[in-house]
């Protein structure tokens, strides 16, 4: 059972004008596909790891469950496959987005004061991640919400990595340059600001509900 590239939940042009269709096409069919291919190749010799499933594979990054010679490849490509699968789902048609409501909105207000204050912190994490990486909003082990950023294709599921803030992600933003360069070039803050227009708050709420029970939706 090899991992497969999941279909996008919408067309390549659905997120326009905020995320352009050419970026979505290359990002999905080239970058994400490469992570899937590389992950499958690395796991070929380790069928018992393949059987763990994608979430568990990410959780054991940094532990001795991953054999030394493939540990880095699995971190990079298992991380990349999870991150992008997660990412496509937390975005949606800009006409569908209304902002958070219900339990997740209350949790955001409890942790950050307001939705706007949460966004400001998230924007800072996304803009401040030097080099390649991701910004995340997630549920910590104590049930509270927090914001963090990770380098390269790491994510907060990788609790055993040093300097990690272990969380179940409920919202994430790719700030690798490939995520925005064709439309925004060096203007990462502009990309971050525009991206809020395509956030799928229903998915965020589902991710939150699951995370509160300790589950990781994929």
């Amino acid at each position: 059972m090899a991992f497969e590239l999941p279909a996008l939940p919408y067309d390549y042009g659905t997120l326009e004008p905020h995320v352009d269709s050419q970026t979505m096409l290359i990002h999905h069919t080239k970058h994400h596909q490469a992570y899937v291919n590389n992950l499958n190749a690395a796991l070929d010799k380790f069928p018992e790891l393949k059987d763990l499933g994608l979430v568990e594979i990410n959780k054991v990054v940094g532990t001795d469950k991953l054999p030394g010679d493939v540990a880095t490849t699995i971190r990079n490509n298992g991380g990349g496959h999870y991150n992008h699968t997660f990412f496509w789902k937390v975005m949606t048609n800009p006409s569908n987005t209304n902002g958070p409501s219900g339990a997740v909105k209350e949790a955001i207000e409890a942790a950050f004061g307001s939705v706007d204050e949460m966004k400001a912190k998230f924007n800072a994490a996304a803009a401040g991640r030097f080099g390649s990486g991701w910004a995340w909003l997630g549920v910590k082990e104590d049930g509270s919400l927090a914001i963090t950023s990770t380098p390269n294709q790491d994510n907060p599921l990788m609790a055993s990595l040093p300097d990690s803030t272990p969380m179940v992600p409920i919202l994430g933003l790719d700030v690798w340059e490939h995520a925005y360069y064709l439309k925004y070039q060096n203007r990462r803050p502009e990309y971050i600001a525009a991206w809020w227009n395509v956030v799928n708050w229903e998915q965020v709420a589902s991710n939150f509900d699951a995370a509160k029970t300790g589950a990781v939706l994929l």
Binding site: K30, A34, F130, G131, S132, E177, H178, L182, Q185
Partner: protein
């Protein structure tokens, strides 16, 4: 006593000018900010191998921002007025880099990168450098493969480097983000930028194609040879 101004042209890499009025009566030091140095060719001169649009963003926006941000960070601090190399080494802080490092090192790295290329570049080195490549890599073809591989396997953002030590021994290395072999006590003689911003406009995800083009069409082997000779002094 009339104030006389001494303009000190510092290292070629920094393009830095320090303007210091010399007077016996009162030592007033005016520090000019470190400058963005232009590449040694027009922004369209590397076409079709590296587009003008890429240079306009890469040099005009990314490199410029590193310079501006570094200057803002060091203004009024003890690093103000130091050479770029001094700022890079000081901010590296023995491996616990300060916030200045990312900007300062990227200023250095990018100038070194522009100067590693030329219009109608590529081809092959000659003389002592060519001999050393054969000695240390087996062949020029093998060197090209390994240099390309270093660039391909630097995951995320970073750089690939060819370095020389005082005895003329060559080695390859790769570094993440802003890290530079200079802080590792090495002497680089060639680099290629593998941050996605270096190639995304021209070839998008196809980093292998970018590296092949860099190697075959852009390397300024004359400059690399000069750096190689200088490394052994």
């Amino acid at each position: 006593m009339a104030l006389s101004m001494k303009i000190q042209a510092s290292s070629l890499i920094a393009g830095q000018r320090r303007v210091r009025p010399m007077t016996g009566r009162r030592a007033v030091v005016i520090k000019a900010a470190l400058e963005l140095k232009a590449p040694p060719y027009a922004l369209d001169a590397l076409e079709p191998h590296m587009s003008k649009q890429t240079l306009e963003f890469h040099w005009g926006k990314h490199h410029r921002a590193y310079v501006d941000n570094m200057n803002k960070q060091i203004a009024g601090t003890p690093l103000d007025g130091k050479s770029l190399e001094e700022v890079v080494l000081a901010s590296w802080n023995g491996g616990s880099p300060t916030p200045v490092f990312n900007n300062a090192a990227q200023v250095w790295n990018h100038t070194f990168f522009w100067e590693s290329m030329k219009p109608n570049g590529g081809g092959a080195p000659t003389g002592k450098l060519a001999e050393a490549i054969v000695r240390d890599f087996g062949s020029f073809e093998k060197f090209k493969e390994e240099f390309k591989s270093a660039g391909l396997t630097q995951f995320g953002s970073g750089w690939a480097w060819l370095n020389a030590d005082k005895s003329g021994q060559l080695s390859l290395s790769k570094t993440p983000n802003a890290v530079t072999p200079v802080v590792e006590g090495k002497t680089p003689i060639l680099t290629v930028d593998v941050w996605e911003h270096a190639y995304y406009i021209d070839v998008q995800n196809r980093r292998p194609d970018y590296l092949t083009t860099f190697i075959e069409k852009l390397i300024n082997w004359d400059v690399v040879a000069e750096r190689y000779a200088a490394a052994q002094k």
